[in-house]
């Protein structure tokens, strides 16, 4: 029913704003009309594949093309326009799409120059505004087994890895988001949408406001994004915001100036949320319920929720709990041999199964073999997240580190997060990230904007908390951590700095 409700809302043709983007509002009426235009074009174009690629943008045309694909029940494949055009073409090829929507004239031109005869490139100018008031979306059933979208992530072999999300996965997740008593959204809400469309938190920030008949405020994706976010939060009195923690890290030096009394929900996902950052942020939005969300793309946006309470002991090593699984999913912990861990506070790899969880990757048996396992007792298929977690006595999971980041230095197994935690205790350190350089040495990167930062003092402080084998061999101070396209800390870039 989730998707049907979105198109029922659009059919009402009200003058209420569905979107704010490109410095103007677009009503539900305008959105319906333009989505209908795109749907007409898609229907008329011959295509060998059902899949429709969309070069992502922060503009109305791109969003309407995506909604048209959703209406027609054609899987959409968002591809980041900031990728090199060759990579865009590779992803489109992997997805088998022969139709691509592109609102960026430069990217469209570059795609044309690649001369891919099977690929039909559709630009906004080619989509005539022909929809009339009498036209209306036909509200249809959605086959849960059909694909809704495919997201491509970087694969270890260099070949993009496709995550195919079905209507069952997407509908199950979104329905939970609007029925869970933790969240009470209404048409009076103003949602902010700050994610690039190939990063799946955008699914929440776009679809939920359309479902409840609210307005979605889209942050421009060029220039200084965290300024755009702050201006939008303040100017438009945003009431619902899903953030990635790095945004708040950028705002951290200015916490004393920030007051957002209208913010009702402040959710975090995509990276570890630190308790020290949360405590400062909560003062900036005194009326907001703060939630920490967790979930790999394979579990459809997020699959665990933790409501953060100001006076509770929410964190371990300054990392806030990721909470309990949503009702649609089951979580288990397994050890290195795939055996079930049932004891509390024992670390293992977190695995999920349920309506929100994919069963396989897009045409990639090697990735399937590596990332899925059968439950030792029930034989149900579970997705292995690669995240090392443990369960506390309240039934909440805690993220410890990535399985890839579990390291042994000089024969000792240690947790990089613990070293980072103690480094962040230094008042001059804004962010701390440890990378393993080799089996004998790790390097600590600290982000510090303060000239008072003293490397010797930090080393001495670490030595007072940690055993010798956990002391980084080298400390490198940066004015700013590198971030990837999804605004997560770029550990690969940091590793490169150590070589």
């Amino acid at each position: 029913m989730f998707f049907q409700q979105i198109f029922t809302n659009l059919n009402k043709l009200t003058e209420k704003a569905a979107f704010f983007m490109d410095d103007r509002y677009y009503s539900y009426r305008e959105t319906r009309n333009r989505v209908f235009d795109y749907a007409q074009v898609i229907t008329k174009l011959p295509a060998a594949s059902n899949n429709i690629a969309i070069v992502t943008g922060d503009d109305f045309e791109t969003y309407c093309s995506l909604l048209a694909a959703l209406y027609l029940q054609r899987p959409y494949v968002p591809v980041n326009r900031k990728n090199p055009v060759r990579r865009i073409a590779d992803i489109v090829g992997e997805a088998g799409a022969d139709l691509i929507f592109c609102s960026d004239v430069n990217v469209a031109l570059e795609l044309k120059e690649l001369d891919l005869p099977a690929l039909k490139i559709v630009e906004p100018a080619m989509v005539a505004s022909e929809t009339i008031e009498g036209d209306a979306f036909v509200i249809k059933e959605y086959d849960p087994a059909h694909l809704a979208y495919i997201l491509f992530t970087s694969g270890s072999t260099g070949k993009p890895k496709g995550v195919p999300i079905s209507y069952e996965n997407m509908g199950s997740y979104l329905t939970k988001m609007v029925t869970d008593p933790l969240f009470e959204y209404s048409e009076a809400d103003r949602f902010i949408q700050m994610f690039e469309l190939s990063f799946d938190p955008s699914v929440f920030s776009i679809m939920v406001p359309l479902y409840v008949g609210a307005t979605c405020y889209v942050v421009p994706d060029s220039g200084v994004v965290f300024h755009h976010i702050f201006n939008m939060l303040e100017d438009h009195k945003i009431t619902v915001a899903l953030f990635i923690p790095s945004v708040i890290n950028f705002l951290k030096p200015y916490f004393k100036e920030i007051n957002l009394p209208d913010l009702r929900y402040s959710m975090f996902c995509g990276d570890a949320l630190h308790d020290s950052v949360y405590k400062g942020w909560q003062l900036c939005c005194p009326n907001a319920a703060v939630h920490n969300w967790y979930g790999p793309t394979e579990t459809t946006v997020i699959c665990t929720v933790y409501p953060v309470y100001p006076d509770a002991d929410n964190s371990v090593n300054d990392i806030i709990s990721i909470g309990k699984p949503l009702e649609n999913v089951t979580g288990i912990l397994v050890d290195d041999d795939g055996k079930l861990i049932t004891d509390l506070n024992v670390k293992g790899e977190l695995c999920f199964n349920g309506d929100q969880v994919i069963n396989n990757y897009w045409h990639n048996e090697a990735a399937d073999a590596k990332s899925f396992m059968l439950h030792p007792e029930t034989q149900q298929k579970f997705y292995k997240t690669g995240d090392i977690c443990f369960l506390d006595d309240q039934g909440n999971y805690h993220f410890s580190n990535r399985k890839d980041f579990q390291v042994k230095i000089n024969g000792y197994r240690l947790e990089l997060a613990e070293v980072e935690h103690y480094a962040r205790k230094d008042v001059n350190v804004n962010q701390a990230v440890v990378v393993k350089k080799n089996d004998q040495e790790m390097v600590l990167f600290v982000e510090t904007k303060d000239s008072a930062f003293n490397e010797e003092e930090l080393t001495s402080s670490l030595k007072s908390f940690l055993p010798w084998y956990m002391i980084p061999g080298k400390i490198i101070a940066l004015k700013q951590m590198p971030y990837n396209q999804n605004m997560k800390i770029d550990r690969a870039a940091l590793l490169a700095l150590t070589l």
């Binding site: 994004v225 965290f226 300024h227 200015y254 904007k449 004015k479 700013q480």
Partner: protein
């Protein structure tokens, strides 16, 4: 501090921060400079504050549309 002096120092910081070799003008904005992102911007602001000996508020920096706006803000702080 004279406006020309402010502009010259700001443009020097700008060129160094973003490795910018083209002519610098007041109307240059983050949208027009590839390396001017959320991440490098933080470094740019810290450098401005250090070199000019001022502290800029979030409301000031979040409203900067271009280098000309930054010149105006520095002028107010140095007045």
């Amino acid at each position: 501090m004279e406006e020309t002096e402010i502009r010259n120092l700001l443009f020097e910081i700008f060129r160094n921060t973003f490795d910018y070799t083209l002519p610098v003008t007041d109307d240059l904005s983050a949208e027009k400079v590839e390396k001017w992102t959320s991440f490098t911007h933080t470094i740019f602001i810290v450098e401005i504050e250090t070199r000019f000996g001022i502290t800029l508020s979030l409301r000031e920096v979040a409203r900067f549309r271009n280098l000309g706006d930054i010149v105006e803000a520095i002028k107010k702080h140095k007045a």
